[in-house]
Amino acid sequence: MFEMLLIEGLAIGACYGLFGVAVAIIYKTSDVINFAQGEMGMVATFVAYHIMVIYGFPFWIAFPATMIFALLLGMAIEFCFLRPAKNPTVLGLLIITLGAEMLLMGAAGWKWGAEQKDFPFLLSIHKKYEIFPGLALNEWTIGVFILSIVIMTLLFLFFRYSRLGIAMRATQQNTNAAKIMGIKVERVFSITWGISSMIGAIAAMFFAARSVLDPNFMMEPFMRAFAAAVLGGLTSIPGVVIGGLFLGIIENFFGYAWPEWKPIVAFVVIILIITIRPSGLFSKHYVKKV
């Protein structure tokens, strides 16, 4: 039982981590907390659903199409909503992303209605494989582990070695200096939003396969993932992943012991931890200088 709970927790935690990374990438480059991330993933998942169920295409066509849609959606939101705002405050940016969230939620509700749907995902949570003797994992769990490892490795390589990744890190550290060095900062922001939207869409599909598909289904996972990202420190990608895993494990064990308190345990833990370490567990706390 213990190892089953642990693995379940790790799997859902990896999903939180994956989604938290999507939040963290945007925060890292442009200092915007994207509250619309969950709804961007939700709309992308609905698009995948639409392609598969209404148009009847197989998953292998729906998936790349959804990825392209997610990329364009992220770029469009950055281009239409964030770029025109001149010198916005932290609160102003928050309001813009919250507005985008309401907008996407309303649009999805208008298009697909509020009733709950089953998302036909490639990996099922009912089909189990016995990897080690005595340890059966379902497809979904295996998929989450493999995919998050692949995405994390790709992101690590991307931020470490590619010119674009280095430009993104430069933009994060000092926007003005990056501009002087010839980086088109706006374009970097745009690409960042696109990539983040794609990662968020993948994670959202995994969440949809576990629960049901309706316009509200990403609210709770988004808040957990956001909490995990804050827990890990928002600026360090490994920190976010560890935060997600940590949160998943805690939540699963608490959920086993006291099922009725499962939804809030994550937030109580988060509030306690950020009270003690205001910038999360794995991020250096910068003291503001005058």
């Binding site: 940016l93 813009i96 907008l103 509700g109 208008w110 509020a114």
Partner: protein, 356 residues
């Protein structure tokens, strides 16, 4: 134009006889309003005034002190449940119950203000968001609070219940007068508070907390006080809200509600009492009246139904209010960061200096 020559001119409630006259005229207008309005509109006015109280309180925290709160639905819920439960189980009179419930909310505000001393920006947002959701789930799980099914508010008794002094108020119109008096008092109190030492301390924290600390503003006291005061307002608003709607369940106090509260003050104008009032009136009107039955709107309604038939679903058209609110939020930050209050100031300046 608005030169202030001494301290008294800054703190006085009415700047001139004209403003005094129009304020009294407006107040009289508000007091006679139920006479010429149909009953549903009185209900709408009640909700608007509840939201005005809350928006003014939230603006003290967000607009004046510069903190972020995504958990005000939690304080609102504490006020609503606290007032109703205190009246039902302890048989307290309404005034005592609402004050105690608002003080409980203020206490929770103080508690959430403590971690807020060290948090800013996104971290504060997640802490307050977590608080709001935690309150919602705790209320939803505990049977004392009526659980998921929610509770209905007890009869609104201004006197002492079950005695000869009992004075039960029912009907939207009577509740309207009660809420109107409380709203006017709360708004004037907030306006006066912002003119005192406390209000100036809040504003200095917003503008630069380090400079404020150097000037001798005690950040610990004033930040937690700001949370407490704001939560007190939310608690009072919640207590009244319970009697306006008559029946409420924990899941109506969700994150969307907290976002809508933030929208009210952003649309109205951060850091001004009048802005908060205008924003609350506009957003509540849009949400509860204009956008509620969007297909019945003249011209636009038919167009939207046609669009829905073609590309969307007609049944999902109710979600149009979300889209409209989202667009309003984004547009106000991009085009008019000062909100409706900024527009009002511009119009005023234009006409005051008119030929030039």
């Amino acid at each position: 134009m608005d030169m202030k020559r001494d301290y008294y001119e800054d703190v006085e409630l009415f700047k001139s006889g004209t403003i005094l006259f129009w304020s009294i005229a407006f107040l009289i207008f508000l007091f006679t309003l139920p006479i010429y309005l149909p009953s549903y509109n009185v209900y709408l006015l009640n909700i608007i005034m509840v939201h005005v109280i809350l928006a003014v309180g939230l603006n003290i925290l967000v607009g004046y002190t510069g903190q972020i709160s995504l958990g005000h639905a939690g304080f609102f819920a504490i006020g609503a449940y606290g007032t109703s439960l205190l009246m039902m189980h302890l048989h307290l009179p309404f005034i005592a119950a609402i004050i105690i419930a608002a003080l409980i909310a203020a206490f929770f505000g103080f508690i959430i203000g403590l971690p807020a001393l060290r948090l800013e920006g996104p971290y504060l947002a997640i802490a307050t968001l977590g608080f709001g959701l935690t309150i919602m789930h705790i209320i939803g799980r505990w049977e004392v609070f009526g659980g998921r099914m929610g509770i209905s508010a007890p009869p609104l008794d201004l006197g002492i219940p079950d005695t000869s002094l009992s004075w039960v108020i029912n009907g939207d119109v009577k509740i309207y007068y009660l809420i109107l008096i409380i709203t006017v008092l709360m708004v004037i109190a907030a306006r006066n508070m912002m003119k005192t030492r406390i209000g100036r301390a809040f504003m200095s924290i917003r503008d630069d907390d380090i400079a404020a600390e150097v000037m001798g503003v005690n950040l610990t006291i004033y930040k937690t006080m700001s949370f407490g005061v704001s939560a007190f307002y939310a608690g009072v608003a919640g207590g009244l809200y319970g009697f306006v709607v008559g029946y409420f369940d924990p899941f109506s106090f969700n994150l969307i509600l907290s976002i809508v509260f933030l929208v009210m003050i952003t649309v109205g104008g951060l850091g001004s009492i009048m802005g908060a009032i205008m924003g609350a009136v506009l957003i509540t009107y849009l949400q509860f009246d204009l956008l509620k039955n969007v297909e019945n709107l003249p011209y636009l309604g038919e167009l939207l139904v046609a669009i829905s038939r073609k590309w969307f679903t007609v049944i999902g058209l109710a979600n149009f209010s979300h889209i409209a609110l989202g667009l309003i939020m984004i547009a106000i930050v991009i085009f008019e960061p000062l909100g409706m209050f900024g527009i009002w100031i511009r119009i005023k300046k234009y006409w005051k200096t008119w030929p030039f």
